[in-house]
């Protein structure tokens, strides 16, 4: 890699660039790649390629007749100019707005979003002063998203990290296949919330619908209200003092801490009966299910 300049790379095709940067193709054999941390690595807080934005530089625009792609490109362009706080007026329920933002940013939507709003984000703090459709924060990696009103189904589908908050109620299958992060719902959640959850935390301040945590592999669900029913392999666990401290902190930050505190929350975890499922014999599967 040493000795290759940006100018050299520009003149190469993609294969040549990959080879010049020391990348090789090989048959995967299942072994681990050996990578070790560098103790003396410098302190940096953003990706090397992230735009240098300033939270104190604020701008706003009205989406008017713009398409979703145009709105997203506009946001990207403003970040490249160094704006750290962007207000988007009249999003008009368009789908897929604010997706793929991979750096820090304060983003405010003055209105409601359609399906797949603010998905695939890695770092920004988003406030939506309205409602959202299906799959808000889908595949989110890091950052915070706060929805002031209600959300549709599959809120936070496959989320990997960050805090996704809906101050109102959400539809069914909240946090389906979630692999990390925290989903907080101020109101109620529908059926099959936490379905196939693998890790992460879900906090429901109100009631939870049928089959909560169905087929969850790991992770934790905290419910402040009534649970209609638990799904396969979801079981109640003891709420520890550390859990209570964490819950109180999270809910306080988001202005959702109940007057009665967090002592009444029920903690749900995986019973781990389905672990290593693939190694079971067919007859054993029948016994479990």
């Amino acid at each position: 890699m040493a000795g290759v300049t940006g100018m050299d790379l520009r003149d190469m095709n993609q294969d040549e660039r990959a080879r010049a940067l020391g990348m090789v193709s090989e048959q995967l054999t299942g072994r681990s790649m050996f990578v070790e941390f560098d103790e003396s690595a410098e302190e940096r807080f953003t990706y090397p390629w992230a735009p240098d934005v300033d939270y104190n530089r604020r701008t706003e625009f009205d989406t008017g007749e713009m398409s979703a792609t145009e709105v997203n490109l506009k946001i990207r362009g403003l970040m490249a100019e160094g704006y750290g706080t962007i207000v988007v007026r009249n999003p008009r329920g368009r789908h897929s707005l604010g997706v793929g933002i991979l750096s820090r940013l304060n983003l405010v939507f003055e209105g409601s979003l359609g399906y797949f709003g603010v998905g695939l984000i890695d770092g920004p703090n988003v406030r939506i002063n309205g409602r959202v459709g299906w799959s808000c924060g889908e595949n989110m990696m890091a950052g915070t998203v706060v929805v002031e009103k209600n959300a549709g189904s599959t809120f936070g589908a496959a989320i990997r990290g960050g805090d996704l908050v809906c101050k109102g109620s959400v539809g069914s299958r909240t946090g389906i296949d979630m692999k990390g992060g925290t989903i907080i719902v101020g109101g109620d959640t529908g059926a099959l919330s936490g379905f196939m959850m693998q890790r992460g935390r879900m906090v429901i301040c109100g009631d939870a619908g049928k089959n909560l945590g169905d087929s969850m592999y790991d992770g934790t669900i905290f419910v402040g209200g009534r649970i209609r029913s638990l799904g396969v392999d979801a079981v109640e666990a003891e709420l520890t003092e550390l859990d209570k401290a964490w819950l109180a902190r999270k809910l306080t930050v988001n202005g959702l801490l109940p007057e009665t505190g967090v002592g009444h929350f029920t903690k749900i975890v995986a019973g781990r009966q389905l672990w290593n499922y693939d190694n079971l014999e067919p007859t054993e599967k029948k016994l479990i299910l």
Binding site: M23, T46, P48, R199, T220, L242, A245, R272
Partner: protein, 137 residues
């Protein structure tokens, strides 16, 4: 209870997977010859009383009131060595042996978070090279 025997080994000690790299404690693990489940408690929430100054500065820069995505980062163990899982490369990154490990998982998790941030934000992260080779925009 159906299926109980398929559980992995229970984590009883912070050095369990350093002292026993295979970690095949349960009957079922020994039978199949592989470890079941995670080698650390993925549900352990952070103790904010143990936050390091670096992580506090990171939260400030990002404008977060807490550790955000780092709440899911823990120190794990691979082949008898401390390591951290980096989701951006889908693999384990090992902690150098020169780093002294504290005697509790909470402090180890804080070290893991700090090391992972520095690695992910550095030019030596594989994502930086991949970006140079394949970036489209």
């Amino acid at each position: 209870m159906a299926g109980t025997k398929y559980r992995g080994s229970e984590i009883k000690d912070v050095d369990q997977f350093l002292d026993d790299s295979a970690g095949l404690a349960s009957e079922r693990e020994q039978e199949i010859g592989q470890h079941i489940g995670y080698r650390y408690d993925v549900n352990l929430v952070p103790d904010y009383g143990r936050l390091t100054p670096f992580l506090a500065r990171y939260m400030e820069v990002m404008g977060w009131d807490d550790l955000n995505w780092l709440e899911d980062i823990h120190m794990g163990y691979e082949d008898g060595q401390a390591a951290v899982f980096d989701r951006n490369i889908n693999g384990w990154v090992r902690v150098p042996k020169s780093i002294e490990l504290p005697d509790n998982q909470q402090d180890r998790d804080m070290i893991a978070r700090e090391l992972l941030i520095k690695f992910q934000m550095s030019d030596r992260h594989p994502l930086a090279t991949l970006r140079m080779a394949y970036t489209k925009f």
